[in-house]
Symmetry: C3
Subunit: 425 residues, 3 copies
């Protein structure tokens, strides 16, 4: 685990000082208790959290339960990552729009008259009313707030405020819709909620260059030439980081997801270390580890759509994922899928699943929705239970982060260290 | 807008300093951004909020979303206005009572043996149990707490505490019900939740003398000679001030309330300015702006009750309203209506609508309830949607108060400045 | 009331200073108000709360409504009392387990291979997932976390963490389940959530020796030889101390619980004072005050189970109760009952009722569940209403603690003073 470290021990020490102080207070009573995990804390204050000499752990309970920490995350984390919000197929033509959630914000994603994808905060510049219904879609010539009929162009500019004259009552150009930075990666639209992006989307997806992006492979898949056939939204009573951790690791797959075990070679989900002890990275260029003879990620391993994604062969797969503010983007030979987690409150998250097939595929002829969504739907239902029971557990006063598996929960460490960096910045 | 100002710029500056500081922190990044509303803030910190040189605005988002500000309002606002709670027709005879909400309090409004209207806090002096069921009505000889049977007279005095003797266990006279100050204005009962009223009810209703009360007109209407025929209570997920603003202005009526457009001459809802630029005030002596040939505020403009309120002619109307802690009291030739907003929490309010007809009107003969309530019920349903979508919008981190209409949202400015004065006091 | 006092007046003064300061601020306005309870506060600041020269009261409103005070209680109160969680009949054999709530924690209560009753925090040492479903029961050879299949022995030791080797990845012995201190009193299992018990369970039950435990009587009842036949769980919107007070006193029984009046000699519920003015204590050795000719605590006073508890005669009864963190344990000739209150949040509590009959009794032959549970079920339904209306009442800004009955609400005083001592420690 040595060389991945971008976090100084002092920072880790500081972030967990509250936990430490609380434990110090009870030093005497606990000193000689048998099998006492608190003793470990006293002697090696940094070691029980995240980076222990022999293993790494998850975060202290406060990070999953404290409203104050959630409040800090709003500025320090949610606004400092590119967030996946929609696919270009949802806004093919100028005026097509989809109202999406991005962390705690509602955004109108649309395509302007020049063909550019734009993302506007769904907030009228008059008195702040939401302009479009949340999670609505449509085709618009202008966005008209239903409250007082202020209208905005596809480029976000204020077109008209009834009975208020541009240049007289106020200057229209100062009151266009506020816009989120927007970038598109092979058809996937991402936004940056903060003021200025601290990195490019490609930088984020390549882990700052550690995982080079395989453009050749991506081009051959044509991930932009798909259409969404189903969406599933679920509110889970769990902190968003618990949902993120659940999705990052597959240590729980063997016992927790029997349907995955049918199609996936679970050993391939995990990292290996080379002879030099270094991790064999997967990053943005990973396969999803299907078993031999399995064609796609379905209940029986058989294909669920007749149209192929680009030139992906049976059994081939390709996935990229966003750490910290989690989304994942697996592609199989016949369909692709997206999973996104939105923080709602410290103990509540929204989990969104989307399924895509080739844009030319015809329902009833090439695919049935129920077949395409079957496996990930079943897995998601199982995970909803896991994350909620973990949330209840870490709310216990006696929860202490324990050892995570260095090869089967590997990516969690990088994600958590990245999270700590953001929180400490 | 010049002469209405009772708020010094320094106060406005102070109240919004938190917003300002937050924005200052990002000065460099935003400095040269195109069409950047934040720039305005930096250069003219006071102008973007409430009193801009060219317009006024609503409040910053915190005022609609922060639990801390709601906490401050409890003392600074809710207890410092006369609040409409009931109509005298609900407590005609000694012992008649109605349990009402007044902001966050539950009160028992009754008539004592001397015929005086009284309002008691619905809290037993023993261990604090509510004495009467919330929102109940009835006729009582005494108020008996169902928990331990402590009983109180219509004058609030403790009559008996089972097995506890006056003067021995404790002195009964020290433990009468706590009473709210109570005043009646042409049949409408108001309470003051704070300790000593800072103004009389007539002072509040006349805006400190700016809008003289038209006693001649009011006497002719006989607003006290009505009876309630229907009440509608609705919990909206919106801050109480958003509900207040929604009800103060009719800028949204043309597009938002098609049924109002049928009967109302919407231009008459708005203020005009005289040749000197001063507002033509309407205040407590306003008509409701019915179109010519329209007799009352109903779906088709035809009367909905055969009995007339006082000597109000067809098409005539009269309304008074309470700013800040909002209630409105429109009277038409054949019915009157009341709308009250109760704060519940920072993002939740209760909206109460009440309908009244002449006390001698007979249901089924003179009126049908469904006809009387049709228009205001429809309007209220539309407004519930507006206030909730505004609440979601102002919860965005990117909400900035924008320009309000100087003639169509006029009263909002006075109400918001009055609110700021209370909060700053 | 003199000699029971373990609380110095200074402590009482301090704890209520916030209330006092708030009231001081309005001294002038209130000074001469007629019948003004606030005046009392100013002149005798300590006397209106808890220990007044002539009476005692309940706590100020903040203690029932402030999230900050609830937060303090977590450490100062909930972890510093023995809490009843289960009966030995629920874990008769090694491996039998029941997952219970104890204040805010979830615990697995089980019997290990040596026959000892153990209580483990229901939190996996890996990433904190709850191991057993909340409120589940079963028979286990090991406790296996469903998330990643970490497994624990009946003694709490970590047996296996899949793919992680003991001594290599980490040391298993350091990661056994955390355990709560556990003691059994005549079949009733209690836990101590804090680190080291500050007293023994017998000390707690005997009130530090003030109420000697009647072991002869208890042995004759054989309270451990019963089985649970029904459990009722209810969430009430009331602070846990309001539920505690409701259960401690029977001043409300005459009017509030008509069914109790049928079977109970209500005068016997109350304390008496001897010639010396001292209370005649009942404590852990009390009867439940059945009327003459009444055999048991049932709707008609007739027995509801043919099997007798130990040698308890018709009409005989015996109860012990835990103050502050409330549970009560009444035993009648033919059944026993338990009532437990769990704090959930500042204004929400869970009330649990359990009914037991002799372990050899046969349903349908010796008893019908509906008859055994009828009386306490009816009483509980009535109390749910009382506690919720008191919670609403004490949330009023005008609630002031009033005089409690020195003989009919007596135990409340000791409980509240004990509570204050814990909070001040």
């Amino acid at each position: 685990m040595g060389s991945v470290d971008p976090v100084a021990p002092e920072l880790v020490a500081k972030i967990f000082s509250a936990l430490y102080v609380r434990q110090q207070a009870s030093r005497v009573q606990w000193k000689n208790a048998q099998c006492n995990p608190y003793c470990v804390v006293e002697e090696r204050p940094l070691s029980v959290v995240v980076r222990h000499p022999n293993y790494f752990t998850s975060l202290p309970g406060e990070y999953y339960t404290s409203p104050q920490i959630f409040e800090q995350e709003k500025e320090k984390v949610f606004k400092r990552k590119w967030l996946y919000v929609a696919h270009v197929s949802q806004v093919r033509e100028p005026g097509d729009y989809v109202t999406v959630r991005a962390a705690l914000e509602s955004l109108i994603v649309t395509r302007d008259r020049n063909g550019a994808v734009r993302a506007y905060f769904n907030v009228c510049r008059h008195r702040g009313s939401q302009i479009c219904d949340e999670l609505s879609t449509g085709k618009a010539k202008a966005f008209v707030c239903p409250y007082h009929r202020w209208s905005y162009g596809l480029d976000g500019s204020l077109l008209a405020a009834p009975a208020m004259r541009n240049g007289e009552d106020f200057d229209y150009p100062e009151f266009g819709l506020q816009e989120a930075h927007c970038e598109v990666f092979y058809g996937s639209i991402y936004v940056w909620l903060g003021k200025e992006p601290e990195m490019s989307l490609r930088d984020q997806l390549s882990g700052g260059g550690m995982f080079p992006i395989n453009d050749e492979k991506l081009s051959s898949i044509e991930p932009e030439r798909v259409k969404m056939i189903h969406e599933n939204r679920h509110i889970a009573k769990a902190n968003w980081k618990i949902v993120m951790e659940n999705n990052i690791e597959c240590y729980h797959c063997a016992s927790g997801h029997p349907d995955i075990a049918v199609v996936a070679d679970l050993e391939n989900f995990y990292y290996e270390r080379g002879d030099d002890g270094e991790l064999v990275a997967c990053g943005v260029d990973s396969s999803f580890g299907l078993k031999e003879d399995v064609k796609t990620y379905s209940m029986d391993g058989e294909r669920v759509c007749k149209k192929r994604l680009g030139n992906l062969a049976d059994g081939d797969s390709f996935v990229w994922a966003d750490m910290v503010m989690w989304s994942s983007h697996p592609h199989f030979c016949d369909y692709s899928q997206k999973m996104i987690v939105h923080p709602i409150s410290v103990d509540t998250s929204e989990i969104v699943l989307q399924w895509f097939v080739h844009e030319d595929a015809v329902e009833g002829v090439d695919y049935e929705v129920k077949d395409v969504i079957a496996l990930f739907s079943a897995v998601a239902e199982q995970d909803y239970v896991f994350v909620e029971r973990q949330q209840r557990g870490v709310s216990s006063d006696r929860y202490i982060p324990g050892p995570n598996h260095s090869l089967r929960e590997t990516d969690m460490e990088a994600a958590l260290l990245d999270y700590i960096k953001l929180m400490e910045a």
